[in-house]
């Protein structure tokens, strides 16, 4: 069910004004600087923000309208809060049961154990919220929300307090939720890595306005996004199809439409669509194909745009390769040395290890971008 939002929220020194449709499947990343209004938008969608005016429609249901306000518990949204908000009077187990008891249970009961297992919650069962570490609290909160089987999942920086290892365990699970249970997710995060690993679409919020929205690939490829995020993490997303597997070396061959590259093994059958994020800082350029290098992915392409960044050592280079766009971030010194110009053919070198390990299948039902 699609969620369309045409909202205005006026707070003391801040106003949010967003008109946006959120696709009915997959994950939409809500992305943007701190104080941009991400939590406010999420709260309005959940029905926590009584100051919200406008319209919210989810599928056939009008949640907010001129004379209508559907309360949260009737919206069936799940909300993972920035501060976990566990119930302090219940144990971790009690918190999970609370959600589970009230869930709309169509399927069998294995789901409970499933969530508990994935988030490794069993050892925490007997603890109260006050006896959990920050990360543990957040894990319980995520589990609790999943167990309530929402129809729409709103997650406000759910993984910020988790360590990298945990995060990499939980991310794929979250990524599978939309397909597995047919629920869309709106996911607030600061981490571009999470965006590329999870999201099908991005909505970038800045100062209460949606400044960019669309498929992850297109949106990330835009050169003006760094303003939102800082240049360090910018990159582009390549779409392709699994062409083959090398089980021994744990590599997957991905066909980008004519050209192929190797990525660390992702267990997908040939033909599956994949999305690979390449950070601009992980792409090097060469004039010719070099030899004897550990870098094994070399993509022939052409420079389509070049933007030296004033005040820094860098230049952003946009390369067209295999009909897709790739960004490279190299030093201005290298631009000078190699005498790079727009239109010039180059070889883009991409370390295969630079691909996100959890590069994920696009949700099959998703035709959004």
């Amino acid at each position: 069910m699609e969620l369309t939002v045409d909202l205005r929220v006026d707070l003391a020194d801040f106003s949010l004004e967003v008109r946006q449709a959120f696709a009915s499947t997959g994950i939409t990343a809500l992305f943007g600087p701190s104080g941009g209004g991400k939590s406010t938008l999420l709260r309005a969608i959940a029905g926590f923000e009584r100051r919200a005016a406008g319209r919210i429609v989810f599928g056939e249901e009008e949640w907010l309208g001129p004379d209508r306000f559907v309360p949260t518990h009737r919206r069936g949204v799940g909300f993972v809060f920035q501060d976990a908000r566990l119930f302090p009077h219940l144990s971790a187990r009690g918190n999970l049961d609370y959600a589970w008891k009230r869930a709309a249970k169509a399927e069998a009961g294995f789901f409970f154990d499933d969530v508990v297992g994935m988030l490794d919650l069993a050892p925490l069962f007997s603890r109260r919220a006050g006896q959990l570490s920050g990360g543990e609290r957040q894990r319980v909160a995520i589990g609790r929300t999943l167990l309530s089987r929402p129809r729409l999942l709103l997650m406000d920086e759910p993984l910020a307090s988790l360590d990298t290892k945990r995060k990499s365990e939980i991310l794929p699970y979250v990524a599978r939720l939309p397909a597995a249970f047919g629920i869309p997710i709106i996911y607030v995060t600061h981490a571009l890595e999470e965006v590329t690993q999870l999201a099908d679409r991005i909505v970038a919020l800045e100062a209460g306005r949606a400044v960019a929205a669309g498929g992850v690939a297109e949106t990330l490829a835009r050169l003006d996004l760094p303003g939102v995020q800082g240049r360090f993490e910018a990159g582009a997303v390549l779409a392709g199809r699994v062409a083959g597997q090398d089980a021994a070396l744990q590599l997957t061959l991905v066909d980008l439409g004519g050209m192929s590259i190797e990525v660390p093994g992702i267990g997908l059958s040939p033909g599956a669509e994949v999305r690979l994020r390449v950070r601009a800082r992980d792409v090097s350029l060469a004039l010719d194909r070099p030899q004897g290098l550990s870098i094994r992915n070399m993509l022939d392409g052409r420079i389509v745009a070049m933007a030296p960044e004033a005040d820094t050592a860098y230049a952003e280079v946009l390369i067209e390769t295999a009909g897709q766009q790739l960004r490279a971030r190299i030093t201005r010194a290298a631009v000078q040395d190699l005498q790079l110009r727009e239109g010039q053919p180059v070889v883009a070198l991409v370390k295969s290890v630079a691909f996100d390990r959890q590069a994920l299948p696009r949700a099959p039902a998703d035709g959004g971008d």
């Binding site: 949260t72 009737r74 501060d83 009230r102 869930a103 609790r144």
Partner: protein, 228 residues
């Protein structure tokens, strides 16, 4: 100080019944009022809050006097009550309950309101996002989190109703078996210089109340709810 025989315990049971019923009635009435006060943004809030505390400032006997006038079959309210129920509000157990409830209202409402305000919206939002409807969230989240407020409210209401006698005496008329509560009985013993009986009754009352209170507080410690 002559005879130490056990005095009539009828009034004690009547008192416990009165205190229990009053507490329950006030729980039922005070909870929504306290909830409303804790969450409303209405301009009426301060006024209602002030009115809620007013029964306290009148001397009990005087409040009792006004309630007597209000409840009397000669008055509109009392007359309506009489024709609706067939019995008067004055000099009946029902009347005692109504009077006690009015007098003890602030003891119920104020601590509850404070507790609900301290709980805040956060846990309720969390509950709503887990499909708990307002009543569900209230019972399963707000109530346990406001437990300390409930204990304060119940203890103050219950204890105060047990000890109170000014209002009860006036409205109830001290009729044995019907409206003669133990506080009046002790009071009478003191007034009629039957100190021995007063001591015995007071001791029974204190021991009983202490036991109830200890039980409440010990249970509360055993199953604590901490906000931190």
């Amino acid at each position: 100080m002559a005879d130490m025989e056990i005095p009539d315990l009828g009034p004690l049971w009547l008192t416990i019944r009165l205190a229990a019923v009053t507490t329950v009635v006030l729980l039922v009435l005070g909870t929504p009022l306290a909830w409303w006060l804790a969450h409303t943004r209405s301009r009426m809030k301060s006024i209602i809050e002030a009115v809620t505390a007013l029964p306290l400032v009148l001397p009990p006997t005087v409040l009792g006097f006004y309630l007597l006038v209000l409840f009397s079959p000669n008055s509109t309210l009392g007359g309506l009550w009489l024709s609706a129920t067939g019995s008067t509000l004055t000099f009946t157990f029902t009347g005692l309950i109504v009077a006690s409830a009015i007098y003890s209202l602030p003891f119920m409402v104020q601590p509850l309101q404070g507790a609900f305000e301290a709980v805040g919206r956060g846990p309720l939002e969390a509950a709503a996002s887990l499909r708990a409807g307002p009543l569900d969230a209230f019972l399963t989240v707000a109530t346990p989190l406001a437990l300390r407020g409930y204990i304060t409210a119940i203890v103050l209401t219950f204890a105060h109703t047990i000890g109170e006698f000014g209002v009860v005496l006036m409205v109830g008329g001290n009729i044995p078996g019907r409206t003669k509560v133990v506080s009046i009985q002790i009071y009478e013993h003191v007034e009629t210089i039957d100190y021995a009986s007063a001591h015995v009754l007071a001791a029974i009352l204190l021991v009983f109340s202490f036991s109830v209170l200890m039980a409440v507080y010990t249970l509360n410690r055993r199953f604590p709810v901490h906000a931190g």
